[in-house]
């Protein structure tokens, strides 16, 4: 049976979990050798991506993206971060900020599979739909 990058990543995560850095190094070396033997070194990028996802999941880290028109002040970002942590049930959130002037106002928060669209653009679209009805 073909082993998927996700399965490789899971293996790696299980074997390095809870190990001190020196031992983890040895484990990683073994792992890379295994990949080489199986001829899977080409899938390195995919495995790393999957590993990142699994690591985040295990350690309660959620990746989030906040899009706004002009950038937000620190206080607001902190509030949003708290909100994300609360609603996703994660321990920690890694935030990335993005600027998009087409939103007109408000913010769009994206974390995991979820999108919370609080932009003015979206509200206007909804208003339009409601009025057309």
């Amino acid at each position: 049976m073909k082993i998927t990058p996700k399965q490789f990543a899971l293996c790696l995560l299980e074997s390095v979990d809870g190990q001190p850095a020196s031992q983890a190094k040895a484990v990683i070396k073994n792992f890379v050798e295994l990949l080489g033997k199986q001829g899977r070194l080409g899938q390195e990028e995919k495995i790393i991506e999957e590993f990142g996802k699994l690591w985040n999941e295990k350690n309660g880290l959620v990746e989030a993206e906040i899009t706004s028109v002009r950038g937000l002040d620190k206080e607001l970002v902190k509030l949003l971060k708290n909100y994300i942590i609360k609603s996703s049930g994660a321990k920690e959130a890694a935030l990335a900020e993005k600027i998009d002037t087409s939103l007109l106002g408000g913010v769009v928060i994206r974390y995991g599979d979820k999108v919370l669209d609080g932009s003015l653009k979206n509200s206007l679209l909804e208003l339009k739909e409601k009025l057309v009805k």
Binding site: K6, S87, R110, G112, D113, K114, V115, L116, D117, G118, N122, S123, E126, L127, K130, L131
Partner: protein
Amino acid sequence: MSTTKDFIVEQLKKQIADFKPALEERTVGRVIEVGDGIAGISGLADAMMSEMLEFETAAGLVSGVALNLEEDRVGAIVLGDYAKIKEGDQVSCTRKILEVPVGQAVIGRVVNALGQPLDGQGGIAADKYYPVEKIAPGVITRQSVNQPVQTGIKAIDAIIPIGRGQRELIIGDRQIGKSAIAIDTIINQKGQNMKCVYVAIGQKESKVAGIVAKLRSAGALEYTTVVLAGASDPASLLYIAPYAGTAMAEYFLDKGEDVLIVYDDLSKHAAAYREISLLLRRPPGREAYPGDVFYLHSRLLERACKLNQDYGGGSITALPIIETQAGDMSAYIPTNVISITDGQIYLMPELFYQGSRPAVDAGLSVSRVGSAAQIKAMKKVAGKMKLEAAQYRELAAFAQFGSDLDKDTREKLERGKRLQEIFKQAQYSPVPVANQVLIFYALINGLADDVPVEKISDFEIGLYKYAAASGDVLKEIAEKKDLNDELERKMKELIGDYKSGLDYLIK
């Protein structure tokens, strides 16, 4: 003038003031691959089976349906133009199972598989939506068929009767009048308290346009909905169309009304489903159809039913159509659908080319439950006809070799010839049930034995006219739905009177 303007402005202000943008969380994913009408999506962890999805493309929204829920991806069919979708486009869940508009508003319309109008007569203001997929009514709610569907086709009403709530398959090769039977049946439902749904799956749009024009000119579009998934539509729409049509029928079923639904045709539906399944990488089976192709049709046809009075007493009668290749009834899809339905009308190419149209084969066609629904008068006259029609075909083939036949066989052959002749019927000319009873009565009682075979159709048409003009025998048959000695005497008398004015009888 100004008051209306003020009113509008005021209303607008009020509406805007009342408007609260709903801030809600949506579940989204990203397209990882797209092609041939299907898309692979990552994310969408809480997508539901057959949930409607929205692809947010640069060229506007495109809808889709989730069909495969896998560990780390969702396989979806795209309903619409998949060429607009690009890798990386955002896809969001709608929290709605695929549904179509139903109700009075769809009657008389031509719609696509999603219930959107195709006839250019404006939007459909449906107040209700029904899910496309629905579990069929259970045992407790059902009842065996007890009311006839009058197809207006003599050969069918006499020997393969169809009841309301029955599923009768129409099967035969291409171009031998399968759709014609279904269309004639729809036309004949005028004034019979029936709603009709005609689902065209993979049909040529020109053919469907012709059918719609015919239905309109016959006044049949007033109670008919046409659901069209044409030959140029993507396989996903072809796949959904029959379920959408059934959802529209179920609205009337729930109101206790009778509905007739025609699926034209299910072999193209199976082929469309095969296409989708192969693209979604489901394992192929016999003839490359996926393993659940039987369930595909059984769950559809099981939704045809007759409900008992406690549940409204409505019914859905289904007339699925299957096209065979060179008369091969034992192919995969035909055998499947034959085993699901309550009988089949088999159309035979030889009969068709001999000019005996509709080319219904009396031997291979059956109706497993329909005879319970026949009206008593028809049952009395049509009882022996199926046997006689089947025997005649055998006898006729045998009699070609020898000319010396005993009297009994000769009589049977003569009777059979006339029967065959009476079963011939032009397209778009349904015959009311009372007229059918009258002509069959004349035939089985030997009253047509002295009419030359080639004059039978003249005799028939003349008899209808004569009966309509003189007396109320036809009316009596239609109202009583049964024959008694008194009525039989009247019929005999009527036929005798009519014959006395004819000059072509054999002396």
